[in-house]
């Protein structure tokens, strides 16, 4: 493991902050999409079962 780069990035030195911003946004987007879709699917299933 490259000790320097780990410390560099975790400490947000040398532009690491930009990397972290992108990571946070990526996982926020991915996570919220997955959660939203899952919830919609669950709701749709519920609705269908109630009607049936």
């Amino acid at each position: 493991m490259n000790q320097d780069s780990l410390i560099n990035i975790l400490s947000m030195g040398d532009h690491g902050v930009y990397v972290w911003i992108v990571i946070v946004v990526l996982f926020a987007i991915l996570g919220s999409t997955i959660i939203l879709l899952n919830r919609k699917i669950r709701q749709a299933k519920q609705e269908i079962n109630e009607e049936g």
Binding site: M1, N2, S5, L6, N8, I9, G13, D14, H15, G16, Y18, V19, I21, V22, I23, V25, L26, I29, L30, T33, I34, L37, N38, K40, I41, A44, K45, E47, I48, N49, G52
Partner: protein, 242 residues
């Protein structure tokens, strides 16, 4: 013959059954793999000689830019299948790709823009690649709003598919012409992705991140298409048994 095959094996019902069973495990699988690719790229590779650590955005930006275009092509294929064989499932998948494509394209623009701050000193540059990605983003949004504006969803599917096909013919033309246009500018921008040589130490995690990201996004597409199928087929009898 082909039509019969499609209608038997590619019905929304059997697709949904498979997706319901394998969709989530596959999504989680690729999610974890992509996480692994990121960890590899972020912590186990040396910083770039010129760009320092900020180059590591490459492991998110490049897969996203790649998928932004691939998704449109996939959407064009499913749209063509729908128009030719009248296969409803293809229309559902087509429609559910559009929002995912818009999200991915947005992320490609966003990550490129953030990447631009340390490397170019500006968050936006009117270069060819960025401009055509922006146009692609607007095309995704146009497709979404076109589909949303029709109450008769069967018609919406047809219009959507026609527009996707016109779009897929036009994307290379737009790209070429934008490339041509950008030669107007004297300012030679740093191209983000096409470096003459890329060290294998960085190339392998990049390849791995692209492959796993493809899987991850297709997992999302499957999830999104499940949602679309439930929305559109709620009056069918088969949905009552799930």
């Amino acid at each position: 013959m082909i039509k019969k095959f499609f209608h038997q094996f590619a019905s929304p019902k059997s697709y949904f059954a498979i997706a319901n069973k394998f969709g989530k495990p596959v999504l989680v699988f690729f999610f974890l793999l992509y996480l692994g690719a990121l960890v590899w790229g972020l912590f186990f590779t040396p910083p770039d000689a010129i760009q320092g650590d900020s180059y590591r955005i490459i492991y998110m930006h490049v897969p996203a830019s790649f998928m932004a275009q691939i998704l449109f092509v996939v959407m064009a294929i499913t749209s063509a299948v729908f128009l030719i064989w009248k296969l409803k499932l293809a229309a559902y998948v087509s429609k559910s790709i559009a929002p995912i494509g818009a999200i991915v394209t947005f992320f490609a623009l966003f990550s490129g823009s953030i990447w631009g701050i340390p490397t170019w000193g500006t968050w936006w540059q009117w270069d060819a690649r960025i401009t055509s990605t922006l146009i692609l983003f607007i095309m995704y949004l146009g497709l979404i709003s076109l589909h949303a504006s029709f109450e008769n969803k069967d018609k919406a599917d047809k219009f959507f598919s026609v527009l996707v096909l016109i779009g897929v013919v036009n994307i290379p033309i737009i790209k070429k012409s934008v490339d041509w246009w950008s030669t107007l500018h004297q300012s030679a921008s740093i191209t983000l992705t096409s470096k003459p040589t890329i060290d294998p130490v960085m190339l392998y995690p990049l390849m791995f991140s692209i492959v796993t990201f493809i899987g991850l996004i297709f997992g999302l597409v499957v999830l999104s298409s499940q949602n679309e199928i439930l929305k559109r087929e709620k009056y069918k009898s088969w949905v009552k048994n799930i």
